[in-house]
Symmetry: C2
Subunit: 215 residues, 2 copies
């Protein structure tokens, strides 16, 4: 979106706010910490100081790419985390999935120009944790329905809200192929929502990958 806005509103000074922040938590005044990405650090500091409140803490950065990619890619991984929950694969499998998914998010985003520190921060890891840990997330709920055996069309047909991750999965998988980045989890999500792979076959494929060193 930053690139689109730079083309369409070239005079605007972009500031991108992202991070783990359910609207209901912010509205109730519960403690929240988020990332604000602004190209000029002085501008970032000024905005952060003006917009922060006692319980709404803004950390600024000049990494616009990393801040945006964390918020986008996490929606794809949340569908995968939802599938694990819907299939009742257990909390250990969920933690492993999110950890390996975060490695995919990092590989992809770094190849796109993001900085590691941003991805490990609030708009990356933080938002991933919130989204994958809560049923309030639309993408998790979609994944959970798929894991329980519902068909995508039936699920989407019954709601008015949009699960962004369905569309982001296609974009991410296509870009990852161009960049030669391996994303087995995102690819499995894409194949499942495209109807090209069953949930069981996807799980089987992920579990039968060759054993290897961790890093």
């Amino acid at each position: 979106m930053g690139q689109v806005l730079a083309e369409t509103v070239p005079a605007a000074r972009l500031a991108i706010l992202s991070g783990p922040s359910f609207a209901a938590d912010v509205a109730r005044g519960l403690p929240t910490a988020v990332t604000l990405a602004v190209a000029d650090p002085g501008h970032g500091r000024a905005l952060a100081e003006q917009l922060s409140g006692r319980n709404f803490r803004i950390y600024w950065t000049d990494d616009l790419i990393g801040t945006q990619l964390g918020g986008a890619v996490k929606n794809v991984l949340a569908i995968a985390a939802g599938i694990v929950d819907g299939r009742e694969l257990g909390a250990s499998a969920h933690a492993a999935l999110v950890t390996r998914g975060f490695a995919e998010l990092r590989r992809f985003s770094e190849a796109m120009g993001a900085r590691t520190e941003t991805l490990m921060g609030l708009s990356g890891l933080g938002d991933l944790l919130l989204t994958c840990g809560s049923t309030q997330s639309r993408n998790m709920s979609l994944g959970r329905a798929l894991g329980q055996g519902q068909r995508l069309e039936d699920y989407l047909g019954s709601r008015r809200s949009v699960a962004e991750g369905v569309y982001t999965a296609a974009a991410v998988v296509s870009r990852a192929a161009q960049l030669n980045v391996d994303m087995p989890i995102a690819s499995a999500v894409h194949a499942i929502v495209e109807g090209k792979l069953t949930v069981d076959a996807a799980i089987e494929a992920l579990l039968s990958r060759p054993l290897k060193p961790e890093a």
Copy 2:
């Protein structure tokens, strides 16, 4: 423990298994992925291949320090995450706490000689996520009780299980001071379990730290 064993059983070839794995999940045969730390990579591969099963996947590494520290420090952070839950501060605050806590875990462990990749893997981030995301964790349960206003002695007196994080907090805070590593969350946990800080004062102190850039 690796250093203790190297001194006391010098002939042993150490292998350290750690990662997000509730015993109940493993016993039920649910998918689990863990880290095995062995100094010699060939030995690591051989052990991983012998010990892995279809649903129990072992990734090997030669980072013994990082593998051990992730499993230790996460218990301290789980107490903090439990306090956030017990105080009903919301899912957004919980995600922010775990994210900033993970930054402390990394700073501390890297200063101790751990590799970043290990900390971002199953025995680091993965175990942190599992422990901070589930009430099955003893440290989370302890934190939750503290967040709800119970006294530490009353809580510990009513159970037979040990919440390791209470003891690890003291060790980590002391070592972090020697290494000049800033760990505000771990320090707050230590002060709370020592009875030197109330939960409310700890939250107030964390929320009133100066605003700053994210990285």
